[in-house]
Symmetry: C2
Subunit: 263 residues, 2 copies
């Protein structure tokens, strides 16, 4: 009966930010997308392994659809392995989307902030440029960490920077002169070096360590010096505040100038 | 009958982040807090004026409770006027909380990120240290702007900074050497100067202007040069990406070192 089939229409690829761990921090739009009948896709590090993102949705009380699709993103810096994994994942997404059904890709935290979704979207559109991509933003781990600890990330004229700690202590030391709040992500490999720097700069008391914020095994450590020698989780951050930061003449001048320009 | 009254128990002060403008970006926890029967308090610039935060909740379809309380935060740098306004607002919050009912304070964007909630919470606790404060984090304007434009804020080894543009073009120029993505808030008073800098640095094509993201009158301008001479809204930001950023030897070294340390 359907001799003339319509041109296949791809589904949309939707990046759904789930927030950093507490399912109650999923947005209303994210929640609706998860329940829209779209195909779920979620990241795992190895085939058969648990997915942190999927677990957030599950803890929210959502039933994981039977056809939810794990996509393997291996934790490696081997360029060849990575390229093959990305090709596999992108191809599989295009296959799923070719059926015309939307695919929601589950992302922990915010899909635009240190997440793989941007890369995935680019890889998929390279294969099929016609595919529509939608990103549903979410709560970032550092916003949730600040709320959890009860300290602002930034107020009024403050400056805020977010960097992977792997840049090293020299860069961190330098940025502490420029920023009121510095968020250090992935502190695991050089935690002790960073703690030594914070001690040297007398910033231990205004620093805080937060691991898996909002998850059942969340950990908040305000006495960060006590972490010395510990192996911490990958999903951890240091929130460093530098209340004594000197704001140079230039900046004050610029601020005054800006004020003078305001009506 | 109640001759012996119980010691008055204060309600909790809850900062509810509503996200930057689209009510669908309110989190499930924020949404529940708004419907919990708590007293609503919301910021206005002048008595009788509209509230951007309240409008987000209203657009979400929520009925504004009849006893919702506007709190006046005047837009001024006059220290005396500000101090009196803050004292009034904090006192009124304590009065409301003294009844034992929770107060939800409506905050646009994320309550920890360039918001007044931190200041409010401190002022309230100075008057009554026993008052419990809870912050419900939310989607920041820059996460929503990145999602809207379809560009990541930061990926993998990227660095991200968020500063008020009022620091001036010299500071912005300098930070562009250090950051892959720079978010400039409150660009209104020096938009033309910033645009001239972006042109000089050949960054117009990788910059984007977003005003009132998620609101009905949201504006996204990818041809940022076209904004020259315009008066833009207070709730606007520039998302600047510097794809050609040079990452110095030190940083590469630190990154390599961190890699070598990883298992």
């Amino acid at each position: 009966m359907n001799d003339v089939l319509p041109t296949p229409r791809f589904g949309r690829l939707i990046g759904v930010s789930l927030g950093p761990g507490d399912p109650d921090l999923i947005t209303r739009r994210g929640w609706a997308a998860l329940q829209s009948g779209a195909c779920w896709a979620y990241p795992v590090k190895k085939a058969g392994e648990a997915s942190y993102a999927l677990d957030i949705a599950r803890r929210g009380g959502l039933a994981v659809p039977e056809d939810a699709e794990p996509l393997v993103f291996p934790m490696t810096r081997d360029a060849g392995v990575l390229a093959r994994a990305w090709a596999r994942v992108a191809n599989r997404c295009v296959e799923l989307l070719a059926g015309g059904r939307d695919v929601v890709f589950l992302v922990e935290g915010d899909a635009s902030t240190f997440a793989t979704f941007g890369h995935l979207a680019r890889a998929v559109r390279e294969l099929a440029p016609v595919i529509e991509v939608d990103t549903i933003p979410g709560v970032s781990s550092f916003s949730a960490a600040a709320a959890r600890v009860g300290t602002p990330l930034a107020e009024e004229d403050d400056t805020l920077a977010v960097i992977p700690a792997a840049y090293g202590v020299a860069v961190i030391d330098h940025l502490l002169d420029e920023f009121d709040t510095l968020i250090l992500l992935k502190v695991k490999p050089l935690l002790d070096e960073v703690l030594a720097l914070l001690e040297r700069r007398d910033l231990l008391a205004t620093s805080c360590f937060v691991e898996k914020v909002g998850a059942p095994d969340e950990r908040v450590v305000t006495d960060v010096a006590s972490l010395r020698g510990e192996t911490v989780h990958y999903l951890s951050l240091l929130l460093v505040q530098n209340p004594a930061r000197a704001r140079g003449e230039l900046r004050r001048g610029c601020r005054k100038r800006a004020e003078a320009l305001q009506p």
